[in-house]
């Protein structure tokens, strides 16, 4: 019998369908909300400023400006109420948490756009370094 580990058990609870987005992206979050006994999908759009990893405990924070006031919502990645996350614009960022956006107003809030997605960008970087490593070993 294999040893039961909390880290393995947590992985089983992660949602099957992954959303392809990263910190800095401007996204539409489709979230199921309940109004009385009716359910409908509400969309919250804004910039992803943080993504906190941890298997089933993963969560991300979306920030937007609503009538001059900064609003942030934290979404649990594996909540069944989270229906979809659609990327409207890819952002090019140099850090994992964009908390500095909280101190900014107006134009400065904008994150630079990136032409490629996070996966494509990572793929473009990866083969190069791997090849270099191989050459070093030979």
């Amino acid at each position: 019998m294999t040893k039961l580990l909390i880290s393995d058990l947590e992985k089983e609870l992660v949602r099957a369908k992954k959303f392809d987005f990263d910190v800095g992206d401007v996204v539409d979050v489709h979230c199921m909300i309940r109004e009385g006994d009716k359910e409908r999908v509400q969309i919250f759009s804004g910039t992803v400023i943080a993504r906190k990893r941890g298997a089933v405990r993963e969560a991300f924070t979306v920030r937007r400006i609503v009538s001059g006031e900064g609003v942030e919502r934290v979404f649990p990645m594996n909540s069944p109420r989270l229906v979809d996350v659609r990327v409207k614009r890819r952002g090019r960022v140099r850090r994992a948490k964009l908390y500095y956006l909280r101190d900014r107003v107006g134009k400065a809030v904008k994150v630079k756009e990136s032409r490629v997605g996070p996966k494509a960008a990572a793929a473009a970087r990866q083969p190069e370094t791997k090849a270099d490593l191989l050459h070093g070993e030979e």
């Binding site: 039961l4 580990l5 909390i6 199921m32 298997a55 089933v56 405990r57 649990p76 594996n78 909540s79």
Partner: protein
């Protein structure tokens, strides 16, 4: 020992995580590895004065004492990491060597979990009993003191007076935790809320007498 006569079993705390209920609510849960527990000895009223099952959980490389080695030998040999007594489950016959799994809690809605709480050493009253600290300025010297120990009338300190001392590393029971999931195939018991002790700590789980 058990607090009531309802089914109980030994196990290990795996750790905490969260799961989502069907309606989407997030539920904080503790995962427990419960059983399989080997029945080591069946105590009867006729021979021992009370009825109980002596059970063992886990494995150990430690050499048991000769007395315990005899008990383990009757149940098949392997030494258990922890040994405890649980009340017999009504309508179920067991003999030494039988295995009890988490399936005994099938259909149970609420349980109690007893474990050894995390040790915090010798702690003062501010941390241990939630006292307030005294003023730090104006020549005050009772910054973290306990303050008054009671009235002069009694001419003594009343028993139970909260004072500094060893905190934690003692048996603690959390009652009436909701059962979220039972997985007998993997000896897994998922309960709502927190359980005493660190991940990997040994626990005793028992059906709760609360009915809700």
């Amino acid at each position: 020992m058990s607090q009531n006569r309802l089914p109980a079993l030994l196990g290990r705390k795996l750790g905490m995580t969260q799961v989502f209920a069907e309606n989407g609510d997030m539920v904080p849960v503790t995962m427990l590895e419960i059983g399989p527990c080997t029945v080591l000895q069946v105590k009867t009223v006729e021979r021992d004065g009370y009825a109980a099952w002596k059970v063992g959980f886990g494995t150990t490389r430690k050499k048991p004492t000769k007395a315990m080695a005899g008990v383990f030998a009757q149940a098949g040999g392997a030494a258990a990491r922890i040994v405890g007594e649980v009340p017999p489950i009504e309508g179920r016959e067991v003999k030494a060597g039988d295995q009890l799994t988490v399936a005994v809690f099938e259909g149970v809605a609420r349980i109690n979990v007893a474990g050894t709480s995390k040790g915090r050493g010798f702690s003062g009253t501010i941390r241990r009993h939630n006292f307030s600290s005294g003023p730090r300025a104006h020549g005050s010297k009772n910054v973290r003191e306990i303050g008054s120990a009671g009235s002069v009338f009694n001419a003594r300190v009343l028993p139970g007076k909260p004072m500094p001392g060893q905190w934690g590393n003692c048996r603690a029971t959390v009652q009436n935790l909701g059962v979220v999931k039972i997985d007998p195939a993997r000896n897994l018991l998922v309960v709502r809320g927190a359980v005493p002790g660190p991940p990997g700590g040994y626990v005793v789980v028992q059906e709760s007498t609360y009915k809700r």
